[in-house]
């Protein structure tokens, strides 16, 4: 799929927006909220989703080429920001998909206002804490150690580590790391005030998780499923914390099938 990439002023912040979709008009809108690693590139995973959906991938404020507003201090701020974006673009019936930090953002958005979203997909989402579940500290390792800990199949990590990373991409990664730390340092990657309100999410919800996620292990996925009414859980076997990167095809397939099932359901209703 071809895609476009441009800087836009959205809800008062200059952000980079990538967009792709099928050539035929009328595709349903899907908004993808990226994780702590950012969204500086159009990934094969996005290309797969863009076969069926009008996919929008903004780079969050504070990440990559997007500006860093003064108000950005908590994941809550990102959630309100995207509510503003949905309103400003007057998007309705949006299929909201968030990965990791973006999953937390999507959940925080959805407990506030589901009126513009039709379905929610949380992939390996941060945001919820399960007492006693051991998690790795991805601020303590060096870049290689951190990446290896996020990926289950080390041959995939080998390939990623062998890539030549240009200086401007390194710069984006550094910025992403700084912004992520600001947002998630304490409490580490979760909001104790989120779980009591997850019941407010009244759109079909799909919780999608890597079986071997060490950053946010599977019990966190179970907790999301338990707390969001009617949520469905899909586990990707042999996958770590980065399903869109480690298993792009199974991950995109699972996302697409769920969203299409939601749409089909609605068509019958």
């Amino acid at each position: 799929m071809s895609h476009t990439e441009a800087m836009h002023v959205l809800a008062g912040v200059r952000v980079k927006l990538m967009q792709g979709g099928p050539p035929t008009p009328g595709a349903r809108t899907m908004l993808f909220l990226h994780g702590a690693g950012g969204a500086s590139q159009w990934l094969p995973f996005m290309d797969l989703l863009a076969r069926d959906f009008d996919l929008r991938v903004p780079e969050h404020p504070g990440f990559g080429d997007s500006d860093t507003p003064d108000w950005l201090k908590r994941v809550e701020d990102l959630a309100y920001y995207y509510l503003d974006v949905l309103q400003e673009l007057d998007l309705t019936g949006v299929h909201l998909v968030g990965h990791s930090l973006g999953g937390w953002t999507a959940a925080a958005l959805a407990i506030k206002d589901c009126s513009r979203i039709k379905s929610l997909t949380l992939i390996s989402a941060a945001g919820v804490h399960v007492h006693g579940v051991a998690r790795i500290d991805n601020f303590m390792g060096n870049p290689e150690q951190s990446l290896r800990a996020l990926i289950h199949d080390q041959s995939v990590a080998d390939q990623l580590l062998a890539l030549d990373v240009p200086p401007e991409e390194r710069e984006r990664q550094l910025k992403n790391r700084f912004t992520t730390a600001r947002l998630v340092w304490q409490p580490r990657s979760y909001d104790p005030y989120l779980p009591p309100w997850l019941h407010r999410i009244r759109v079909p919800t799909h919780v999608l998780w890597g079986e071997h996620d060490r950053l946010f292990p599977l019990p966190i996925g179970h907790e999301y499923q338990r707390l969001i009414p009617g949520a469905r859980l899909t586990v990707l076997p042999g996958c770590g914390h980065l399903p869109p990167i480690e298993q792009p095809q199974p991950c995109a397939r699972a996302v697409t099938q769920f969203v299409q099932a939601v749409c089909a359901q609605e068509g019958r209703a």
Partner: protein, 380 residues
Amino acid sequence: MKFFNFHLMPYADMDVSLIREHGSAWVTFPNRHYDPKVGADLYNRYLDELEYADQLGFDGVCVNEHHQTPYGLMPVPGVLAGALARSVKRARIAILGRALPLVNNPLNIAEEFAMLDNLCRGRFIAGFVRGIGAEYHSTGVNPAESLARFQEAHDLIIRAWTEPGPFEFDGEYYHYKYVNLWPRPYQDPHPPVWVPSQGSAETIAWAARHRYTYCQTLGAIKTVAGFFDKYREEADKAGYAATWDQCAWSTTIYVAETDEQALREAGPHAEAIQNEFLRMPFEMLLPPGYTSLESFRHIQPDMIGKPQTVRSLNDAGVIIIGSPSTVRERLAAYQELAGFNTVLVKTQFGTLPADMTRRNMEAIAREVLPYFQEAGAGPA
């Protein structure tokens, strides 16, 4: 020049190879390696050493704060300063410093320092620091908020010391309906504020603007001279001329009969602090946000924690080790080069045992102090 005896109070009686095996002496170095019997002896030994420094004629004694590490056993330095307040009779007592951003109630620090200042009848010096990056892993405080919390906590403490209470304080991080300090500090308007740093441009400028004494930690003397010049430039910008009294250099001094003997004796202990106790991964030392993104770009991982020999440290002027005449000559030359009127001296360092520490303190007091304490070098 004034001589302060600076103590880090390391967990000196240990096998440093344990640190090497673990990869770091900070944050995650297992506390099963701490033996309370050994620790109790060390605390008492170190307090004895600081009391001895007072008797030997040092102008001041210093303790500081670090967390979760054998590098320094002083997570709550006020306990030690409190012990010293009654036994150190003459010298000034400095905490260099307390890490303001790491506490959620900075008024506790205002109270603690005011108490200490009362106990020692105005001999207290208040050091304010941010804590090193590792401490943000240990305490959970967000490193991105470090600088802003430091400045706000500072403003609160100074106001608590100087403004009639009760008053209300509304900051971004700290909020009080009633600020009303009991006790107030003994010194008027408040204890001198000293600001130790490794050379952050933001901190140097901030200290100069406030006319606080700037203390340079761990640096080669040429770099130190650059930082002190920077301080004086910042003072000029702020509309006044800084004196040498506003700059303090933190170093290690070891004196023996000959240069060779001094290097031989001090070597393993100086290398232990530099290469083992200070050992930590880059990511532990500099969590994201502890420095600005701009400053961070200029720091490369390979700049941190390169193993050093005692000779390379000595040659670079990070430490001064040698015969009495060598130490006197080098210290005089360094003072002239960098422009400072206080030297904060670690007389104990790394694994240096008690008997050697005492001999070193005596040698410094006999062979070095008298030559400098009389002379008030530099523009006063």
